[in-house]
């Protein structure tokens, strides 16, 4: 059995006077889609931000492929790609230039850069708009740019934070397909969402958090338990949570 790609142990985090994370522990493995579920304000985004080193833990520890986020943040960032709902892009750069910029900053070597960027453009079917300025792209196209820049350095861990919340049906479907494809390539995919239908369809294992604490963890089937739908189990678990 492979070791965890991401390991969180008793993580605590305060933002100002808010005790946002209160001792969260979880593990996500390579080759799986790991769901991080919870209502708004549960601490999902904060957890992801700690994993990718944007925020530092106040207590507990976070490791990505054996690298501690506190002591080796740059090594962690090299191994992580993040896609969020807010797919900000540089409007005066073309889609390709946006991707190349992040590839360069992510340490892709000069000789490799063009090949990598072209490969990502090809993989996400972006050829038709790759040379267009980002300001003229649709939301779905911008989201593809955001995904491309997150994966161009080929990170083993991919995190998706509510990636479809600003997208139409077609674009959302493409993002979901991409997540499955990434899992099939052996990536560890962490999927944070409050859309339980998506989670039920995509996730191999999941953790539900509420008010900064883990309510339950397990395979999707285990969490669903005797309920017909994950949504029913989710509501029951939240109601029973302290």
């Amino acid at each position: 059995m492979t070791g965890p790609a991401v390991r969180i142990d008793r993580l605590e985090k305060n933002l100002g006077s808010n005790h946002v994370l209160r001792g969260i522990s979880l593990e996500a493995r390579p080759g799986e889609i790991f769901g991080l579920l919870g209502p708004n304000g549960a601490g999902k985004t904060t957890t992801l931000r700690v994993i990718c080193t944007l925020l530092a833990p106040d207590a507990g520890s976070v490791e990505v492929l054996g690298f501690d986020t506190r002591t080796a943040p740059e090594e962690v960032r090299r191994r992580v790609g993040v896609v969020t709902a807010e797919f900000g892009v540089y409007p005066r750069l073309s889609a390709r230039e946006n991707i190349a910029y992040f590839a360069d900053l992510s340490g892709v070597l000069d000789g490799e850069l063009d090949r990598r960027v072209d490969a990502v453009i090809e993989r996400l079917d972006m050829r038709s708009f790759a040379r267009q300025r980002a300001e003229s792209l649709s939301s779905g196209q911008k989201q593809k740019v955001a995904i491309a820049r997150a994966i161009v350095h080929d990170p083993p861990v991919l995190m998706f934070d509510e990636p479809t919340s600003n997208l139409d049906v077609l674009a959302s479907r493409e993002v979901r397909e991409f997540m499955v494809e990434s899992k099939d390539r052996g990536k560890c995919v962490i999927f944070s969402t409050h859309v339980l239908h998506d989670a039920e369809r995509l996730c191999d294992r999941l953790t539900i958090i509420h008010q900064g604490q883990v309510v339950t963890s397990g395979t999707t089937a285990e969490v669903r338990g005797a309920h017909q739908e994950l949504e029913d189990a989710f509501l029951d678990l939240l109601a029973a949570a302290p």
Partner: protein
Amino acid sequence: MKATATVFRKEMLEIIRDRRTLIAIALAALASPVVLYVISQVSTRTASETYTVGYSGDLPVGLDLLFSTTGLKLEPVADPAEAAKQQVDLGIVFTPKGLDEYYDPTRQSAQIADIRLQEILSKYDAAKIAASLQQKGVDPSVLNPLPVSVHPLSSPAQAAGNGFLSFFLPYILITMSLTGGLSAALDTSAGERERKTLESLLLTPAPRAQVLIGKTLAVATISFAAALAAIASMLIALTQIQFGPRQGSLPITLHPVAAIVMVWLAVLLAVSFSSLTIALGTLARNFRQGQAYATPLYFVTIFPASIVLFIPDFNPNLAYYVIPILNAVLVLRDAIVHNTVALGPLAVTSASLLVTGALCFYAALRLFTREALLIRS
């Protein structure tokens, strides 16, 4: 420093494609020639304008000739005091004892007419006294017992040109070093948060100090280019535009020493202002808020240049050269006026501006690496 080069290239590309920044630089380059042209037109018109003097009473013999050669037109009026309010520029009543003058000091035309009248009257008085003395057999030169021969040590016209430059050039250098890169600075700092690109940028493994250096260098390059463009256009305009009908163009030449000092100061100011405006932009949540934070900086730039305007002979001791911006104004003023540079003030100024830039950069870096940067956005 690979990340610095990457960020610098990307920022320059974005700035070049940003109409706001390019328009701001173009307007700044055009502003000086336009303002100087307007000034030249006004000064030419003022100098060649004929002003009307309404008078009553008996005009002394020969005085009318002096009026016509000094750009004053005499016009008989019933009530000079009343006419001086609007109808004419100046009113005079000739009386047996002399003359009464009426003018409205709030009217610029009246002020100019008054100056010309005083010139005429002093010449007239001198001529009358000289004639009277001659009639009595006295040499009129007794009125001028100490004739003065003036021997200027440098060209008065050149000095006037240097004096003009010593105010305008530091002023333009400082304001353009600030405003030329302001839009780019806010775009690269507050703009990152507004566009939601900041998080993605901070997610890359590139060291944040290197990222910030790349941004600062790009903004400094634009500030520097804007300052030089504005100064070059001003210098070209000054050699082409004529001020007044008689004076001709001011002899404007920037001595090589002054030019070198100016370029060096432009570099230091560009780096300092870039760090400062990026720090302010990093505090802001969006471009508009960044502009509000940066507005007080305009006063900082205008104040030191004004000191040179209002106190032209301000010769401070070395301690004054520690004050950022004021020191740049003083060093450049001295270089332009004297065509030399004192190494002590230049060294203190350079050190002061470098330390200011470093402190601003450190502040920007602290802000750029704080968690609050993301949480607030």
